[in-house]
Amino acid sequence: MPEAAVSLNRKGSGALRWLGRNWAVLFLLLELAGFGLFGKNFFSPENLQNILLACLPVLLLGMGETFVIITGGIDLSVGFVMGFGTVICAKFMLMLQTAGLPPGGSIPLAAVICLAIGLIPGLINGTLVARLKVPPFLATFGMYGIAYGASEIISKSTPIMGLPPIAGVIGNEYFFYVVPGKPFSFLLKPENLTAGEMRGMISVLPILVVIFFVFVGIFAFVLRRTRFGQHTYAIGGSVDAALRSGINVPAHLTWIYMISSFFASLSGMMYVLKYVSGRADAGSARMLDSVVAVVIGGASLYGGTGSVKGTIIGALIIATMETGMVNLLIPSHNRYIAIGAILVLAVLIDQFFPELVGRGQ
């Protein structure tokens, strides 16, 4: 490998190297351009914000998966832990509501409970991987079954409905509403609009996007700038070296898997706020998405590489495709074909041009 790298350096194929390093961004731009050309109103502010909304679940699961993959592990349980999160969140909202709590109390309380309980699958995964040396693939595969079974049983195999409607307001409102010729209005839709004005109204900044990008920002900072992040990369680079340099690897790995399941339940909470229901299979398709986002983002499954920025781009690629397919009226199940193909493409690029891509922190 190093010889090849040297020879490439000598050839100085700078353009190719740049291409290898930035193909994901280029792919995203290409996608945007393609859908922009063939789609209808693809670049409307509404549609662009829809892309951001669509990328949230992928991004949230992908965030946790990024941490895990950097350490050289994998978390297969994220999709069903997300479903578990939706079920727990919705169930507690209902219980607190019937206990007579106003929505102002029941919604945040249920959210906190959901996030707290959501740490348990991660704790179990982490303990299995870090202390009992179960391969991450199998430990989280087991949790995948356990989380799904548990949420189907808790939800009695039917979506949990009848939540306080105000939950949906938080999930579907925007920060600003702009009606041409009228002043801004914050948070709530302006009232008494004519149908024409309604159509001209532009909604800016979905609340959900803001809330969850704050979380993403915090953890991006943790990964890039703190000792915790450094140790994460160190473990992925070489567990032995990390041990020898005095990192408490088992404890660190346990935290990593807890972060992953934290993000999964965060994503579950978001689902409840957006769709005002909880269902066991809410995230079943998302495990694939999250791994794809992380791998597109430049992480290697062997550990040691990966970044939040890359995962964001990966999530945007998936979300753009999803939104674009809706825009072009392509049946949405075709997304699986595209996502599977993109995953293989990403790995092939990684495989064939390791020197080009120049993976590193």
Binding site: P135, F141, G145, S284, L301, Y336
Partner: protein, 360 residues
């Protein structure tokens, strides 16, 4: 001296238990459910367990080959759905065009099995020639095969198949009528409805097909050079290359084989249910397949695993499901049980002293 000998003896017992715990566990399950549930210990119910095991056993057998080489195939469940849908579509369309039923069924099955090669070929090329990690390559096919099945079926089951499909799929090797004795292949004719109800089918036809396939491949894995090479690659790829094994071409064949197992499962599913159905995202066939293989004593590091062990793994999972069902415990608890047993199997393997390296 005495103590060390004792310790060695204890280690031997532990090793013995650690390697054969699956068999004991299966027996324990059978005994426990038989004692606890009145309806469990019945010929009909055991026949039932086998009937529902076939799909899983076939998928898990394919997975066994892959896991022995140190790989993994996550795409099996969706390949099965893709094959089921396409095979059913051929049957439906030919039947609608007025072809004879037998021709429809044979053509449908043939098309299904032929299409089943493709995902395996792609997986194999990616893993063997392009060195994509098996996990990622088959996760890609998992997405693509799932998308193809949904694309072909538009998200609806394929119905209006020749009725004979289901008749064949639900036939039994033998029928037993209490008081009248056995008949083979065909139901005894001229029965009253009361007699019909007490008629017991023994060995479902699909189970027979699956059993033959499994026996053939257990033989291939245990006794042929192909099997030897499979273990050799899993033991050490470098050593296998140095021993002159054409590793890429062998791996390619392994992934095609595994995909073919899924295709057989898909075609049998069509015959059994009379519809062609895509695999839902939460069906988790891959979980059950991998769990069975691991329970059967394989290691994800490769080099270990047996078809017999895998079949015991599947029987454990399906007996558990059947028993829990009869006991009135929610169906989905089987996902929990499978997850727990999978993890337990790995931990047991981890804690078992002096693990055997080979194991054919």
């Amino acid at each position: 001296m005495q103590r060390s000998r004792n310790r060695a003896g204890a280690a031997k017992v532990l090793t013995f238990l650690g390697e054969r715990w699956a068999v004991f566990f299966l027996l324990l399950l059978l005994i426990a459910f038989s004692l606890a549930e009145r309806n469990f210990f019945a010929l009909k119910n055991f026949s039932n367990i086998l009937y529902y095991s076939t799909t899983y056993a076939l998928l898990a057998a394919g997975e066994t080959f892959v896991i022995i080489t140190g790989g993994i195939d996550l795409s099996l469940g969706f390949v099965m759905g893709f094959v089921g849908v396409s095979s059913a579509m051929v049957m439906r369309d030919m039947y609608a065009a007025g072809r004879p039923e037998a021709a429809c069924l044979i053509a449908g099955a043939a098309v299904g099995l032929a299409l089943g090669v493709i995902p395996g070929l792609i997986n194999g090329l990616l893993v063997a020639r392009l060195r994509v990690p098996p996990f990622i390559a088959t996760l890609g096919t998992y997405g693509v095969a799932n998308g193809m099945a949904l694309f072909l079926s538009n998200g609806f089951p394929i119905t209006f198949l020749p009725p004979r499909a289901q008749k064949i799929g639900n036939s039994f090797l033998a029928y037993f009528l209490p008081g009248k004795g056995f008949t083979f292949f065909n139901r005894p004719e001229g029965l009253q409805s009361k007699e019909l109800r007490s008629l017991i089918g023994i060995v479902p036809g699909t189970v027979l097909v699956a059993a033959v396939v499994l026996l053939v491949f257990a033989f291939i894995l245990n006794r042929t050079r192909f099997g030897q090479h499979t273990y050799a690659i899993g033991g050490s790829k470098d050593a296998a290359i140095r021993a002159g094994i054409n590793v890429p071409s062998h791996l390619l064949r392994i992934y095609i084989l595994s995909s073919m197992f899924a295709a057989v499962a898909g075609v049998l599913y069509v015959f059994r249910s009379g519809v062609g159905n895509f695999t839902t995202m939460s069906a988790s066939y891959e979980l059950f397949a991998v769990a069975a293989v691991v329970i059967g004593g394989a290691s994800l590091m490769g080099g270990k695993g047996r078809i017999g062990g895998t079949v015991i793994g599947i029987l454990i999972l399906m007996t558990l499901e059947n028993g829990l069902n009869i006991a009135g415990i929610p169906t989905f608890s089987r996902y929990i049980a499978t997850g727990v047993i999978l993890i337990a199997a790995v931990v047991i393997d981890q804690l078992t002293p002096e693990r055997k390296a080979g194991g054919a």
